[in-house]
């Protein structure tokens, strides 16, 4: 498996985002252990130091914690994980709204189009 990264952006950030997406979507759960740095480095085919940096960043953001000698774990805190979820949703919505505004749609039109689209599905 070779994930597609946008190599114009730092790779450690994208690895962090990919892990956060897995948490938000439920593929990873609170308390789960993350794969070892070596395994992740093979999975993403990147330098182990890049994974190390991604893990450090997640820990800094409070998404994970390390148990000495045991590895890196996802925090087991529903409230924090819910915040993570809404933060990611907000970001996606902002991107979407920016793109629609760029195309010249008004707020009301965006809402109408969105309603229409949601009904269709």
């Amino acid at each position: 498996m070779m994930e597609n990264f946008d190599e114009d952006r730092p790779i450690y950030i994208q690895i962090g985002e990919s892990i956060k997406r897995d948490i938000v979507s439920g593929r990873l759960k609170g308390g789960d252990k993350l794969p070892s740095i070596r395994d992740m480095s093979h999975r993403f085919k990147v330098n182990p130091n890049t994974i190390q940096r991604a893990y450090a960043e997640l820990e800094y953001e409070g998404v994970t914690f390390t148990k000495r000698g045991m590895g890196t774990f996802i925090i087991d805190d529903d409230e924090k994980l819910y915040t993570l979820k809404t933060d990611m949703a907000t970001k996606e919505i902002e991107n979407f709204v920016d793109a629609m505004k760029e195309l010249g749609f008004s707020s009301r039109e965006i809402i109408e189009l969105l309603k229409h689209n949601l009904k269709r599905k």
Binding site: E7, R38, S41, H42, F44, K45, V46, N47, R53
Partner: protein, 233 residues
């Protein structure tokens, strides 16, 4: 982080032609550095000096604190960019050759790597395709338990599937106490492997730094930085 390799103001000329014009470079333990530059920029000359095959005219080269020589050849595992195995050999003979030659050669590891890459040990070296040859010599190089692996163009003329296998093999060999120097002009294929990159042009390092920092600074992939740096080369 103690430097595995330290180069200071290294110069080298061939018959009056300047190949290296004051190269400074430091490689710490556990790092994977990409030596990036077009053909004729001095990559191979620099690598041959590190491997102890040729000597610089001026400047200092230290490998784990030692001058290049017999002692450092035991610390440095070198993959040349040319076909260096004897044509009469079978892959098996090449394994024996390395086993005799290098004290740090791990025969089992080599066989494991060859199996992983799908190379038959009974094959004759002269019958190997270009890709299979490269895999074979890479397996031999990586099966040594060295402090510094110096790979000169390990991906030249290899298909994408073989490339992934080779990248996996390099990653599986990564240890915190050993370092890699990988020279290439096929940047996009391997840029994820590097934690540090050094761009070499006309025998000088014109830009170097941590790969991720360069991506942040310039909002560009290492490949695009490469294109920008060498546009007029």
């Amino acid at each position: 982080m103690k430097a595995v390799l330290e180069l200071r103001d290294v110069h080298k000329s061939f018959m009056g032609k300047k190949a290296l014009q004051g190269v400074d470079l430091s490689v710490g333990a556990g790092s994977v550095i990409g030596l990036l530059g077009p053909n004729g920029s001095g990559k191979t000359t620099l690598i041959k000096i590190i491997a102890g095959l040729i000597k610089q005219n001026a400047g200092e080269v230290k490998i784990c604190g030692l001058n290049p020589g017999e002692e450092t050849k035991a610390l440095v595992s070198y993959l040349p960019d040319t076909q260096h195995l004897y044509k009469w050999m079978r892959v098996e003979d090449a394994i024996c050759f390395y086993d005799d030659f290098f004290e740090d050669f791990d025969r089992l590891r080599c066989e494991e790597l060859l199996d992983y890459m799908g190379i038959d040990r009974a094959d004759k070296v002269k019958d190997l395709s270009k890709g299979m040859y490269e895999k074979t010599s890479l397996a031999l190089t990586l099966a040594r338990q060295s402090r510094l692996y110096v790979l000169d163009e390990p991906l030249g003329g290899i298909d994408p599937v073989a490339r992934d296998t080779i990248i996996d093999t390099i990653l599986s060999n990564y240890r915190e106490d050993s370092s890699f120097i990988i020279s290439t002009h096929l940047v996009s294929d391997v840029e994820r492997l590097f934690d540090t990159v050094a761009f070499i042009k006309e025998g000088k390092i014109i830009l170097d730094g941590e790969a991720e920092e360069l991506r942040i600074e310039r909002s560009m992939s290492i490949e695009n930085i490469y294109k920008e740096v060498f546009r007029n080369a």
